[in-house]
């Protein structure tokens, strides 16, 4: 579905991605892991058009989308839940959701879509007419995900959805991601909470300072980390904090 080949991206003189190749198949949940500055967000930004890659290609559903504008790429069916949620704070919950449906608005379907979002995120129904800025962090994250889903994306990309949330809310968000996956949504998930992400994922990519360090299934990752523990003297729980 999504194929990235030899992607290079940089911020000014600083190279953030070195020839990254990555693939997401339809119906998969792929986790993209790595420490701060590994290039995870850069990868998502390059896919969705916020950042123009310096070289390499991004192909989605057989069509090259490298360097297209964010609005064009959204219309192809890729929706991003940005890091830090990026709720429109002065707009109401209702208006935030309406903008989510901007590209694919259909009067008949809209009400049904809203009902579906209320079912997934009951809190949004209570807060419907409140400004987004008055929502708590967890509520804003739910709104950000709901807003992204309103465009009926073929691929949903989540950038650090659990960042800054309390443990209870983190659980909620991961339950939700599991639910979305069951519904058949294809997901590319960037997380610092590696353990939880690996647990959910079909396949895992690990980035380190802009280079791909691992690509494979969660089982393979676990094996490799155990080996690393043996050789480099981990505490036996390496997969908790190699946090990759």
């Amino acid at each position: 579905m999504l194929t990235i080949k030899d992607l290079n991206a940089s911020y000014g003189a600083i190279t953030a991605l070195h020839g990254l190749s990555l693939e997401v198949e339809e119906g998969e949940l792929v986790a993209l892991l790595g420490t701060n500055g590994a290039g995870k967000s850069t990868t998502l930004k390059s896919i969705c058009g916020v950042l123009k890659p310096t070289s390499g290609t991004v192909t989605f559903l057989g069509e090259e989308i490298t360097g297209k504008t964010p609005e064009a790429i959204l219309r192809k069916g890729i929706s991003l839940v940005p890091e830090g949620r990026e709720i429109f704070t002065s707009l109401t919950v209702s208006e935030n959701l309406r903008l989510g449906a901007f590209s694919s608005y259909n009067k008949k379907r809209y009400q049904a879509d809203l009902e579906e979002m209320f079912e997934l995120f009951p809190i949004l129904k209570d807060r419907f007419n409140q400004p987004g800025g008055l929502l708590s962090g967890g509520e804003q994250q739910q709104l950000a995900i709901a807003r992204a889903l309103m465009s009926h994306p073929k691929l949903l990309m989540l950038d650090e959805p659990s960042l800054g949330l309390s443990p209870t809310l983190v659980n909620q968000i991961f339950d939700l991601i599991a639910k979305l996956r069951e519904r058949g949504t294809t997901i590319l998930l960037v997380e610092q909470n590696a353990e939880r992400a690996v647990h959910l994922a079909d396949r895992v990519y690990v980035l380190n300072t802009g280079n791909l360090e691992f690509a494979g299934t969660p089982d393979q990752l676990e094996k490799e980390l155990d080996i690393a523990d043996v050789y480099f003297g981990g505490d036996g729980e390496g997969h908790h904090e190699v946090t990759l």
Partner: protein
Amino acid sequence: MIFGEFVINTLSLGSLYALVALGLVFVYGILKLVNFAYGEYVMVAGYSMYILGAFTPVPWWVTMIVAVAMAALTSYLTELVAFRRVRQKSDNAALVTSFAVMVLLQNAVLLFVSPRARAVKLPSAFSESITILGVVTPLRNVLTIATTLVLLLGLTLLMKYTVLGIAMRAAADKFTTTRLMGVQANLVISFAFIISGFLAGVVSIFWVGRSASVDPLIGFTPLLIAFIATVIGGMNSLVGAVAGGYVYGLLFNILSITLPASMISYRDAFMFMIVILFLLLRPEGMIKGNYTEERVG
């Protein structure tokens, strides 16, 4: 009824200034660009009125509609031809471009029309007076207030209840995220320029209506007033711009009646002092607005 006169004058002047300020802030809110060519949209509408009035037999209301449309079109075209190309480069490039557009439009008129003022034909309503609650006032004061109220109501409805309005507000808040919703950057920016030009065109009718003439530098004072009013009211809020316009009108009229005759020519100096005080004590203006200062790229 000195007080009644003062109230009507202040409301009328404030309304005009509110429209002027609003037009400038519409573009600033989204591009974070102070468009120095803004005054020239007022000028373009003024010359449209002059040309249609002097050389064609069209009725006055056609003249006015065409004048407003010309201002909106000019504003849109300057975005399309000039700003769109430099938008991604840097803030400074866009700022310098707005100066360039200003100089270009002014000189075009100097060259092709005349450096001297031209008389503009106006409907008789602009020179009539009416009596309201015992106050005799020029009819155009009342027209200014009424037009402004209608426009403010219309714009409020547009911004609140249409999806384009919602997208405009979102873009002023977080531009990149708005694009991630599938909202085309060019759409909201063009729309902002069109509204900005439209407001400049309406302002032009009443501005020209006071002197019944137009000259190549007519746009300078509206630009300055818009700038001052937005500094007072708040650069990051549409409501702030309107409030700033009315406060400017109020301060101006208070100075006009309280300053002794020998000091009246220093009225602008006092206005600038107030602006400086605002910049020192409350740089965000009366109404802060919750828009972030994100660069558009």
